[in-house]
Symmetry: C2
Subunit: 214 residues, 2 copies
C-alpha cells in the first residue's frame, strides 16, 4: 500500500489531470458557443472558469505544503515541482477558453465570426479540445508516445493560425471588427495548444529527469 | 561569509534579475524599431532572443541541480521554486519583444503601424520597459512597494490595450492588415506587462511565504 505522502502525491497529479479535463470541456463549450452564438453556453464557460482557478489554487497550496514539510528528493521532488509549474499553464488554458466565451458575449446577439470562418474555428476548437484531453492523459499515464501526438496537433494548430492571415489579407468583406476578433481568437486557440504541449512535455520530465524547456 | 550553497542561490537570483534587464532592453529596441521601421534594430532583437532563452535554460538547470542535491527547506526552497517558476515568464517576455520585432521585419520596408497609432505604442513600450526594469529590481531587492507600482503600470497598460479597439472600431482608414497587426501587437505589450507582474508577485512570496497566484 502507498504511504500517506505518496498517496498525497498521487492525488496532486490526479487533480492536475482533472484540471486538464475541465479546460477541455471549457474549450469545447466555448467553441460551440462561438459556432452557434449561444450566449447561455458562453456564460456557463465564464462561470465555470472559477472552478479551474480554484483547482489551481488548491494544487499549488498542496504542492507547496508537500515541498515544505517533507523535503522530498529525486522522483518525488520532480513530481511536485512539475505539478507546481504545470498548474498555471493549465489555468491559462482555462483563461483562453474564457476569452473565447467573452468574445461571444461581447458581440451577442450578433455572431463574432462571419460564416466562412466558422468551420476553421470549429477545427481549431476540436484540435484544442483533443490536445487538452491528451495532456490530461499524459499527466495520468506519462506515455511518451502521446506526447509526440501533441507535437503533430500543435503543428496543425500553428498552420491554421498562420493561414488565417492570408484569408483576412485577401478579399475580406466582413469589416475590421470581425478581422480583429478572428485574429485574436485564433491566437487564443494557438496559445491554448502551446500550453497543452508545455504541460505534457513537463510531465514527461518526471520520468526522464531531463528538463523540458518549453 | 555566505557558504557555497547560499552563494549559488544568490547567483541564481541575480541571473533571473539580469534576464529581466535583458527583456527590458529587447522591448525597448523592439519598440524603437516599430516606431522607426529600423530593420537592423529589429534583427538585433531577434538575434539576441537566443541569449534570453539560454539564460532561462541555465537558470532552470541550476535550480533543478540545487533542488535535487541539497534538499533545501523553508526560505531557500522558496527561492529556488520561485526562480524556477519565474524564469519561463521572463523568457516569455523576451518572446513577446521578439514577436514585435518580427512584425517589423514582416512588413519592412513598409511601416507596421499607421502614423496616428505610433505614439500609443511608444507609450505602451515605455511602460513595458519600465515594468521589466522594475521587476528586475524587485527580484534583486524584494521591495513590496515596488511590486505595488507594477500594479498601477499594469492597469495603465490594460486600459491602453482596451481602448485600442475603440480606435480601430471607428473611422479606421488604414485597412485590415494594419488593424490586425495593431491588435496583435497591443496584445503582446499587454501580456508582457502581465508576465512582469507575475514574476514580481512571485518574488514577493519568497519573503512572505504566501503563494502568489498570478
Amino acid at each position: 500500500m502507498r504511504d500517506s505522502f505518496h498517496h498525497r502525491l498521487d492525488v496532486l497529479v490526479l487533480q492536475l489531470a482533472r484540471m486538464c479535463d475541465l479546460t477541455a470541456v471549457a474549450m469545447s463549450r466555448a467553441t460551440d458557443s462561438l459556432a452557434t452564438g449561444d450566449a447561455r453556453l458562453a456564460e456557463g464557460v465564464v462561470a465555470d472558469d472559477v472552478i479551474v482557478n480554484q483547482t489551481r489554487t488548491r494544487i499549488e497550496q498542496d504542492a507547496q505544503t508537500l515541498l515544505a514539510l517533507q523535503s522530498p528528493v529525486a522522483r518525488d521532488l520532480r513530481v511536485i515541482v512539475t505539478v507546481l509549474r504545470s498548474a498555471e499553464h493549465v489555468e491559462r488554458m482555462g483563461d483562453l477558453a474564457h476569452h473565447v466565451a467573452l468574445a461571444v458575449l461581447r458581440r451577442h446577439p450578433d455572431p463574432v465570426l462571419p460564416a466562412p470562418l466558422r468551420s476553421r474555428f470549429q477545427l481549431m476548437g476540436s484540435i484544442a479540445v483533443r490536445m487538452a484531453g491528451t495532456t490530461g492523459k499524459v499527466v495520468r499515464e506519462r506515455d511518451p508516445v502521446l506526447v509526440r501526438t501533441l507535437d503533430a496537433a500543435d503543428a496543425e494548430m500553428n498552420e491554421l493560425h498562420r493561414s488565417l492571415f492570408q484569408v483576412i489579407g485577401h478579399r475580406w468583406a466582413f469589416g475590421i471588427p470581425a478581422a480583429v476578433d478572428a485574429s485574436l481568437l485564433s491566437r487564443y486557440y494557438e496559445r491554448f495548444a502551446d500550453h497543452a504541449v508545455a504541460v505534457a512535455a513537463r510531465t514527461a520530465f518526471i520520468e526522464t529527469g531531463t528538463p523540458a524547456l518549453i
